[in-house]
Symmetry: C2
Subunit: 490 residues, 2 copies
């Protein structure tokens, strides 16, 4: 089991540190592992380290194992010298090739031994990346094979090398959850969520959110979680909020080759850009026309650098958001990059109860920034907390306006939270910033809060004074509550 | 009247070019005019030009006029030499000082003559910046004074120097609109919307949207519109979508002095940052700790540079969004930076009919990215277009599912647009990308479309087959329409 220390949570997002003993380094998370192709290096690993601050990268041990030119040098010099990179190096096993081409010619034991011999810091067994939507029997059978291989991997002596335990199970949440449990039980170190690339390629962010949430239920809070093959900065915030710590991708390089330009709001084709919507060192130095006029190698190099700047910039943005306690606000903003990201965000909020468990008890004032905000973990927690307050008296006023002596007790009401004891009005989460122009979703959530409070105190007589709530909210208020609009004459 | 050419619209946003004859340059818009203080230059104007691509800046002629050290050098060398800037230079008149200190010692004629004499490319009369929320009499009186001064300004011979015509009127939409009309009638060249800084300082983005929309109704589409004193990149997209072309601000420098760090999602205090949520040349080179350890001058310089990189990066992002036809998607995303920006966005959408007038008839596929998207100009236009379609037959099916021969004609239905002739399904705006998990707002807008079509064809018998619309949408469908759920047995 790896040494993984979580410094701070926000939703299920974690600011953490992974100790990588063989490399003698500690890697800060969330982070991205740039994929380095041993044969073709768009940006050489030394530059990844010095210019972009890469603490870790990933390369493919199966490619090295099969390569007549590179196999021996890798064994003789070791990976760190071969690639000229002093940080942590993770190696993949050939599972991707297995998924693509149907077979590979090594076993888990062989490839782990090879990874160890070439000096990898984090090795990977040969798991079976079961694609989405296969029938259940295939998903179960392949998961059994994967689990068998993880157990073998756990029994191989790999010295200080960490070993990852990929979590499979296709699009079956119960299999993913069970696979997560099993992976932890193996005692292995890093937990890649496998075979999610097809979901991302098809913009199925809703399904991705369900898969990640299911895996996390099984994994619990031990060890770093790696969203295998995820490298588009548009989804880092969402994946981090669900509890992913590591990302990896060759996108920065592969996209550059095709003149594709990454942004946190999606991918652009260089040809479609008249202006660079970016302020990285490349985009402040060149215009799209200037880049276009360069020869292919120079253009590819600069585009790859832009792609890396945006990628690392978004990693820092996610880290700072966790630090500031506004990761969910970042998710809300990033979700507007594409309708399928909205689907992902709405699905993430289906798991608000799960995210609430690790969300800090107090943090930066919440910003209510959309209808979706009404379903945030903070709102859910306030509703749950309503069960624990005492009420004094038989006649209680819940109001968005001023207090009134005719009642035994007066509580405040704030959409989306609902009722709260007035002395808490300046405390978290009731110090939230909310729009003046509130929305139905907020009023409905507040009405649900009222219903919850009423349910806990069946003998109390409640009066609710609301500020112009819509009918859809008022119908959620229990019948026994007297309801008045704030602006209505008494 | 200035030569202002609009190359492309998106909503009321404009990609344009302002000819500035005295400077012999053309300035691309939207753009920002960095405020340069003649006495203290955090980043010198030559660097603004060479490093940040500034084509235009603004400085204060009243400060020069009052300065014993700078008055003569400005008159002798001219502003361009004095500041070392070869682009266009706009000058303010002292109106700000008037608003701050209650009086200034020059007339419009004197200051325009001085601006002309020091070589300003765009001069400004001494208008009265009436603050928000004053009583109507004050707003009217001061507007009359401003209008009188604009008329005097129009009669001064200023050679090739352009002259701006500030639009005042406090928070009275009808006064702002009337002031816009009057400003255009003066024949002056550039139209600053005045006295909006108090609204921005108080995060009153909803009121700001109403003020801008009112001014624009009066101004129409002539000449560049300048949101005076607006320099925070978080609101460029929203202001541009309402039809603002020019921004100006000293924020990059003033904020840097106070260790404040601009982002498109708001302002951060340097002390609160463990990671730079940014990928500009400064933030890729330094960590917050490193910046913090520098001496004050070096830190201020680097923070100002960061602030400018973000500012110009957002200007390019807005330009590219207009070019790509997705400015409203950018507004949607940026609105999530603060609840008061959500208020601003919701208020902007109150003016969808106004924005629709300049929105292109066809552009990039619309992305539906929030409940707010249901109120976009594109949806409104589709609803208006429903009046112009012919229907064949007496029995018409409107359906989210497949067609049915039992009806004389089958139309498709797509939330948020509503009904459409099937042959248009691949054309703009019906090629929109929408979330799988649609929302009430989209279904309700679609129901409004159904109602509109039914209203145009009172003799036709309609059947609506919808995909699980909520009650709030179904109640908007006229009673005479037969309604079925797609998943209900026939």
């Amino acid at each position: 089991m790896t040494n993984f220390e979580v410094r701070q949570y926000d939703a299920a997002g974690r600011l953490g540190k992974v100790e990588v003993p063989r490399a003698g380094v500690t890697v800060e998370t969330p982070t991205i592992l740039p994929v380095v192709n041993p044969h073709v290096q768009t940006i050489d690993p030394a530059a990844l380290e010095s210019e972009f601050g890469a603490e870790i990268l990933i390369t493919n041990s199966y490619i090295l194992h099969k390569s007549d030119e590179l196999r021996e040098p890798a064994l003789e010099q070791g990976l760190h010298d071969l690639l000229d990179f002093s940080g942590a190096i993770m190696t993949d096993s050939g599972s991707f090739q297995l998924a693509e081409y149907g077979e590979i010619s090594v076993t888990t034991e062989e490839i782990l031994e090879f990874q160890h011999d070439i000096g990898s810091d984090i090795g990977t067994p040969v798991d079976i990346p079961t694609p989405p939507d296969v029938d259940r029997e295939q998903a179960e059978d392949e998961l059994a094979t994967t689990q068998d291989r993880l157990e073998r991997a756990a029994s191989v002596d790999t010295g200080e090398m960490l070993v990852s335990a990929p979590v499979q199970g296709s699009t079956y949440p119960d299999l993913r959850e069970q696979a997560g449990h099993h992976a932890v039980e193996t005692g292995l170190d890093v937990f890649p969520l496998g075979a999610v690339v097809p979901l991302m390629n098809e913009y199925r962010y809703a399904d991705l959110a369900d898969v990640v949430a299911a895996c996390k239920r099984g994994l619990g809070e031990v060890g770093p979680v790696h969203l295998f093959g995820a490298g588009h900065p548009m989804m880092f915030a969402m994946a981090a909020a669900l509890g992913c710590d590591l990302f990896d991708s060759a996108a920065y390089a592969l996209y550059a080759r095709d003149d594709r330009y990454l942004t946190v709001r999606g991918t652009q084709q260089l040809d479609d850009l008249d202006y660079f919507p970016c302020h990285c060192p490349v985009c402040t130095e060149y215009t799209p026309d200037e880049l276009d006029s360069l020869d292919e190698d120079a253009r590819e190099d600069l585009l790859a650098r832009h792609n890396l700047h945006v990628t690392y910039g978004e990693i820092r943005t996610v880290r700072q958001a966790i630090r500031s306690g506004n990761l969910m606000e970042l998710v809300d903003s990033r979700a507007r990059g594409h309708p399928s990201m909205v689907d992902g965000y709405r699905t993430l909020l289906d798991h608000a109860e799960q995210l609430e468990r690790s969300d800090p008890a107090s943090k930066h004032a919440m910003f209510y920034t959309s209808h979706e905000s009404a379903r945030r973990p903070e709102v859910l927690r306030h509703h749950e907390r309503l069960d624990r307050f005492d009420l004094e008296g038989d006649e209680v006023l819940l109001t968005e306006g001023g207090s009134n002596d005719r009642y035994d007790e007066t509580w405040g009401v704030l959409p989306p939270f609902g009722p709260y004891p007035r002395e808490l009005s300046e405390t978290y989460p009731l110090n939230a910033e909310t729009p003046e122009r509130t929305d139905r979703a907020a009023c409905e959530a507040a009405a649900d809060g009222v219903a919850r409070l009423v349910d806990c105190h069946p003998k109390v007589s409640f009066t609710l004074v609301h500020d112009d709530w819509p009918e859809t909210a008022l119908t959620r208020v229990p019948d026994q509550v007297r309801v008045r609009d704030l602006h209505e004459r008494d």
